[in-house]
Symmetry: C2
Subunit: 688 residues, 2 copies
């Protein structure tokens, strides 16, 4: 409906003008940088192709979805999942195309776990016969599967799972059973309402020979179990299964619970590529250690890091564009009473929250890429169980998962707060991003817990270096030996971190080795209990991860063959230094104690960071442009490419808000809620 | 519907048993501590009285509200607001009773700004005649008001507001006008759908004598403007007003936008207690500086801190109870293969996230209380414009608002992550708490911005100390002089922070003075630009705020008249030391540079913190019990007083989740979404 607001414009300068100026003042080669960052596996081309299809489909319109109820969000999610699958058929998408489409739509679908864990587990753990049986049904999505591992009472500690699978030699069946409430499967996606089958992780219980009614546990094994009727889609008898209810984010995902009441499944249910129970003799074959998992875990973690960098890039894209458009207060030192208000990105207090994160997105990129290419380059060796350098990186990847998902999760909230009031609004584009991503520090290994794995590995290498038998087994041990050699004779002034980038790398390494050494002393010499060291072990892990990020960023800048232009190289080097010094500053006391950087130099770092931020500032918009996050993905009035921030905010409020279609009765003596309708609260009360 | 899950119990030991043991092992006098913390203004008694009324009213049942759509959440919020107001009439509640009821229901109502800003502004800024006219209508809620200050383009910078009020001397009317889109009022609560009147903040534009059509701006002034028809509740002509749409949290609040198209209001609309335009001569009377605001702002900020402590207490209550009930992994150093799994609060990595926050709740308590009592004790002086020590505290209160709301906001997410997977679920009780509270670091003065006020004040006191004219004007200047005296002759080993609590206090003060002095040198001697110092100024402010928190906590422990038992005193002292050392450790380099604590001592702090956490650990449950947060407020399966964590999680999922009442059609080739209904997605598509 036209009204007087239609002719209003934002106060000058408007966002479009501002962003044009910002782009005009910078020499960052956006397309070159985009290619540099996003060529792998034709990411950019694929993004463009998928975008063309999904952005014109009204089913994927995001603007108003936050108004929907949870049941409606789920219905919408299911409809979107179906539609994407039909597009796959129609356009012949491969798995990566489909994944890209889901990424752009930015809404998890209830099929997610089918595509991810269910398919992979059957592929990797089923024997040939099982695979031949299941694969066609899975591909056709007649069988829709989920992955039921985590339980109400157990997450990280898989060996503690309570769900049981008793082998019944007479019936040649397994009896899946939940002995307690805490044995209920819990959190498992796609299970609550969608799946008709599940991979169930259960303790394999084999009858004790000669002791009827007694069983020996063989630890957790995987079973394929039908859980719902193929016609009615109702749970089978002896199975209680449902959705666990609303949670942070993931509204369209049916994270579920499931309990079994002595539910019988055939012998073929147990996935038997690596371990099996002989149906005739009840003899158990232990799993061979599937070494390939070792390599593919590295790859999965590289993927998590590559995803984390896109999350940071997305948060920073919105924050940079908006804080350029947003103006507030004149310069306090200005003599001119009519001076224009400053753009908020010009305040160091805004820069310090956003620009180091911009640099962090690049840091994560190079480490993710290094991990991926190491995996591909050594894949043949990996398949033969020969890991070499990958073994080191694999051990370190726990720490990297922990640090990188933490950086990404925190980046969202940091950027949001840096945007002031409008950051709190739905059109910021941060609400769903935040709610969905916040699971990442917890899932696939809790971030605090898994740092133990990295620290444990590093302490072992330090012990080996102390023992010094023969040649170093890997490069970490080599570094440990070098650290021990230098430990006493070493002077902190030797490193010149402001002059030589390689000294920055070395400072991070020394600081990490110093942390490792202190933990080694505490554990191996002072014999302190493992649990009493956990806080320290996390520092050991994070130090190492920061060192890896700095090292890989540095390495990328040295590569002659990547042939980036000298203009681009200069910008990347500034970002490298910004990331490194920002990280160094936030851990300054560690560097001081490790004598890796002198106290004098550490005192100078805050000024150096401000200097580097001033260098990045004029290029900030083009730097975020280079990540090529489409407006469709951002769904952010604040982060739009064209800078029409205020126009879009107003449009969403004034024209796209369903609440404004309702006139309420605000007078408290009247029970009526909607004006003139006589409608009171009973219908909603029934939903409480 | 009964089923086999009804007879299942959680694995032993169940939560009820665990919490009983936890409570049994501690000597914390819960009721004494609760009285110590919550007696002020009969908080506990009031909580109990209000709880009895609201918890039995099904309208305030929280469990299923997260399933509702935004429009339904708003309707529910309005119905709740009406009901509470009717209860006020029925039971003769005063304002504090009503506030307590809203607090317990934990859901903002659309009336919120009417009760808060609207009533207060009319009371404080209307002249007697205006007040006599408006007050009865406001009290009866025939006039329902909001407070329209912030605009689309301006928040913190109130002087930059664009909305205008032109004085028309002929018609003796003001013309309220929004010249641009960015002049739209924005974010203003209660305005979007509920209010029929608004306090509008607009630039007062007075005609320039002798220059027809030209105006002089007299800066922002307040006007009472009717915005909706009293019968139809539709916006008046020339006004566009509505709700801005979903945002983080506050689903039942209609934060609004509003634009004026040369909308005329009578002369009486301008609130004229402090400034006025003579209707006959058009002469303008400047506002007298209402000094009382100075004092009441201190009080408001004390209230923010007292609220922040309850937020932290609430997050910690849930986290402590749940991490006691939750078990995961055996002790890695245990020789016993059948050892029970450890309760996760026994891991130092869990303790370090939760227990210092528990101590923080107490730290905030004593500072909030100190501010409040200082306000009440000196109220007579304040009303006479005589501030004395309050002036210092007032300047510091900006920094305290910034630090304390930040600590509280971050505490929610820190506790949530410490709880692992279940922390991410709706029954954690964290989702709405988090979404609602996250606005606090931004509203009522952006946390990064307002630290300038504190730093600016401190730097001026340091300059005065350097100039050293006559007696110190206040105690801060006295401390600054002392700092300058000691600066050269001072040896860091003098303070014995591990032995003497007063040395902890002194260390915080010295470190804060050191930060102030460095900023003073940068600004006043090196003449660096204000904006280039902003990051440093924030540190100045936070250092001072931390020092105040430590000082007030320490002071409270010294008070003989408060007469806490010696048992309780010992626990409080442990918490004091934990808070102080934890804060010191996270800022260790500052303390080292300030020579406030020796590097040797700083190196020992992490071990000291672990030692203090081990002391707090057995008492954690009773310490959180003492905050007396009712289960009704917590609405958390994880944080229940009785420990029935898993029973409640399962109950909410299996019996209270509306999604489980729907059977979906999961097969992608079929458009049908709900099984057997033929219902496809069109009805939802219409909502996108």
């Amino acid at each position: 409906m036209p009204d007087f607001t239609d002719r209003l414009k934002p106060a000058a300068p408007d966002g479009t003008t501002v962003l044009a100026q910002e782009r005009g003042q910078s020499d960052v080669p956006v397309d070159e940088l985009a290619k540099h960052l996003l060529s792998n596996d034709d990411f950019l081309g694929r993004q463009e192709r998928m975008l063309r299809i999904v952005e014109k489909d009204p089913l994927f319109n995001k603007t108003k979805q936050f108004n929907l109820s949870r049941p409606d969000r789920f219905k919408l999610g299911l409809a979107r999942g179906k539609k994407l699958r039909r597009y796959s058929d129609q356009y012949g998408w491969d798995a990566k195309d489909h994944e890209m489409a889901v990424y752009l739509c930015d809404d998890v679908t209830p099929y997610m776990v089918h595509y991810a864990m269910f398919i992979t587990t059957v592929r990797e753990q089923a024997n040939d016969e099982q695979r031949a049986y299941w694969s066609p049904k899975i591909d056709a999505m007649e069988v829709i599967g989920c992955y039921a591992q985590t339980e109400l009472g157990h997450g990280s500690n898989v060996r503690g799972l309570e769900c049981q699978a008793f082998w019944d030699p007479k019936a040649k069946e397994f009896i899946i059973h939940s002995p307690t409430l805490t044995a209920s499967k819990w959190w498992n996606g796609t299970m609550g309402r969608t799946a008709n089958h599940a991979i169930v992780m259960a303790q394999l219980m084999l009858p004790k020979e000669g002791s009827p009614g007694e069983y020996t546990s063989r630890g957790p094994h995987t079973f394929v179990v039908q859980i719902r009727d193929m016609k009615t889609h109702k749970p089978l008898d002896g199975i209680a299964v449902g959705d666990i209810g609303p949670k942070y984010g993931y509204a369209p995902m049916d994270n579920g619970y499931m309990l079994f009441d002595r539910h019988r499944v055939p012998h073929s249910a147990m996935l038997s590529r690596y371990s099996r129970v002989d149906p005739n003799t009840s003899e158990y074959t232990k799993p061979a250690n599937p070494a390939v998992v070792y390599g593919s875990l590295t790859y999965v973690r590289a993927t998590i890091i590559m995803h984390a960098r896109l999350i940071i890039a997305r948060a920073v894209t919105i924050a940079v564009r908006y804080t350029c458009v947003r103006r507030q207060f004149q310069d306090r030192d200005s003599k001119d009473a009519k001076a224009p208000e400053l753009c908020v990105l010009d305040y160091p207090t805004v820069q310090i929250r956003i620009l180091p994160l911009l640099a962090t997105a690049f840091a994560l990129h190079y480490t993710g890429e290094a991990m991926q290419s190491l995996y591909w380059n050594t894949r043949e060796e990996i398949n033969q169980g020969n890991f070499g350098r990958l073994a080191v990186l694999h051990a370190q990847s726990s720490g990297l998962k922990s640090l990188c998902t933490e950086l990404a999760a925190n980046s969202i909230e940091t950027c949001r707060r840096a945007m002031g009031g409008h950051g709190f609004g739905g059109p910021s584009g941060f609400i769903q991003l935040n709610n969905d991503y916040l699971s990442k520090p917890t899932v696939e290994g809790d971030n605090w817990m898994i740092t133990q794995q990295t620290a444990s590995f590093l302490i072992k290498r330090m012990q080996a270096a102390v023992d010094r038998k023969g040649k170093p087994q890997d490069e970490i041990e080599g570094h440990c030996r070098q650290y021990l050699d230098e430990k006493n004779g070493y002077k902190p002034s030797q490193l010149r971190v402001f002059d030589r980038d390689e000294d920055i790398v070395e400072a991070f390494r020394r600081r990490s080795r110093d942390q490792t050494y202190r933990a080694h002393v505490a554990r191996n010499e002072q014999k302190q209990s493992w649990n009493s060291l956990l806080i320290q072990l996390r520092r050991v892990s994070h130090s190492e991860s920061q060192s890896i990020l700095v090292q890989n960023f540095y390495n990328a800048l040295q590569q002659k063959d990547s042939a980036v232009s000298s203009t681009l190289h200069a910008h990347l080097r500034t970002l490298f230094r910004l990331f490194a010094f920002y990280t160094m500053d936030s851990e300054a006391r560690d560097f001081s104690r490790a004598k890796a950087v002198s106290d004098d130099d550490l005192d100078k770092i805050p000024a150096k960071i401000q200097e580097l931020m001033a260098q990045v500032r004029p290029h900030a918009v083009r730097l975020v442009d280079s990540w090529k996050i489409p407006d469709f993905l951002l769904d952010s009035a604040l982060g739009r490419y064209d800078g029409k921030v205020y126009e879009d905010l107003f449009n969403r409020a004034h024209r796209l808000n369903p609440l404004n279609e309702i006139t309420f009765n605000p007078y408290y003596k009247e029970e009526e809620i909607v004006k003139g309708s006589g409608e009171n609260i009973d219908s909603i009360l029934a939903k409480l």
